[in-house]
Amino acid sequence: MSYSFQFRDVFAAWDFLLDGLILTLELSLVTMAVGLVIGMAGAAARVYGPKPIARAVAVYVEAIRNTPLIVQLFLIFFGLPSAGVKLDADTAAMVALSINLGAYTIEIVRAGLEAIPKSQIEAGQSLGLSPVQIFRYVIIFPALRLMFPSLASQFVLMMLATSVVSQISAQDLFQAASIIQSRTFRDFEVYAVVAGVYLALALLFRLLFAGLYTLIFARRAR
């Protein structure tokens, strides 16, 4: 039995894929932004905050990092309505992804903050810098430089992981693929094409982050 590959049906549904792609991009960008805010605030609370708050942040981080994203997503989308909180698929996806990425970002930012030697901070103090200046010039800038590569790869992985939102039938790129598949039965072709689109997105994001890194850090290096 021979099989002839037919990509025509897949490309004929390009507007469908485009809609999905847009939601995937939206989800990724919102998640990265919110995740970064949660990560910064959480890491600051974890490192400099009072003990009970630092502990609470640690519990959040461990709870999220040791359970699968898809279960968190199901808990929020299918579970929360019984507690009276009803979210539509897109919102539930955004909430779950942000909560998830936030926990990973906290760990990365914390590691970056803790990697700044105490002697650096003391040197800043002895130069008469104010706490704000020390935070800005001595801690956050070098720390950001240290954590940037890990953050970038975590963000790219998160962009790929947004594909699980298709499982609560949010209309993202992967869900678009499933719908095209059920209409055309071109299983292999549609998933191959979509995998290619994800790959292109991943490379694009990496390139973007690499450019951002040079833009921010290269000139002021050393």
């Binding site: 359970t67 808990l75 299918f78 929360l80 019984s82 299983d187 998933y191 995998a195 790959l199």
Partner: protein
């Protein structure tokens, strides 16, 4: 028929953990083999081999695991073979884990100073012998903590196999939800069970890292 969520359901979920563990074991074994190959390709002295390794890692780390699962499960039927969820999952996870383990192990291999290789070759050891007697024993120490850390990722990612109908912990949770209609309790239980599997490993990874780091 809707019934209550009771102790039996919890026991069923606990029992389903064995398939999560089995899948993790298969993925780790398959991924380990692929990963070893990828790591060796990536440190090879022949550029074309290095490129193959690089492209493999780039491609796998740039595509969602879900896409691999779907390609293998739905896509392979076009070649005329009916693929079971087991085979689709085993193949997808080996490919996926291979890329990540390969990168971890390459990092460990490259962290060993070049002089160690040179010392080996000046003693007349072949490439294989240098790897076996000099590089790998040292690199293993470096590789263990991140490998254990990746195991946690792997356990969590086996949950994605649920979407192709592989009955492990998450799928069992979906099935239990369908009969008891208690999604919140069920998924919370499922999450707790994953936590019980993963948290000790996370802690172990951290402890190992501290120990090996301190010893250097």
């Amino acid at each position: 028929m809707i019934r209550e969520f009771n102790v039996n359901d919890v026991l069923y979920l606990v029992a389903a953990m064995r398939w999560t563990l089995a899948l993790t074991a298969i993925a780790f074994a398959g991924g380990g083999l692929v990963g070893l190959l990828v790591a060796l390709l990536r440190v090879s002295s022949l550029p074309p081999l290095r490129w193959i390794g690089t492209i493999y890692v780039l491609a796998v780390q740039g595509t969602p695991l879900l896409a691999w699962l779907f390609v293998f499960f739905f896509g392979l039927s076009i070649v005329g073979i009916e693929v079971s969820p087991w085979i689709a999952a085993a193949a997808s996870y080996s490919i996926y884990a291979g890329a990540f383990l390969g990168e971890i192990w390459r990092g460990a291999l490259q962290a060993i100073p070049k002089q160690q290789w040179e010392a080996g070759s000046s003693l007349g050891l072949s490439f294989g012998q240098q790897l076996r007697y000099i590089i790998v024993p040292q690199a293993t120490r470096l590789a263990i903590p991140p490998t254990v850390g990746f195991l946690v990722q792997l356990i969590k990612n086996t949950s994605l196999a649920a979407v192709i109908g592989f009955v492990e912990l998450t799928r069992e949770g979906q099935l239990t939800t369908a009969t008891t209609f208690r999604p919140f309790t069920v998924y919370l239980t499922v999450a707790a069970l994953y936590f019980l599997l993963c948290f000790p490993l996370t802690q172990a990874s951290r402890r190992l890292e501290r120990r090996f780091h301190g010893a250097r």
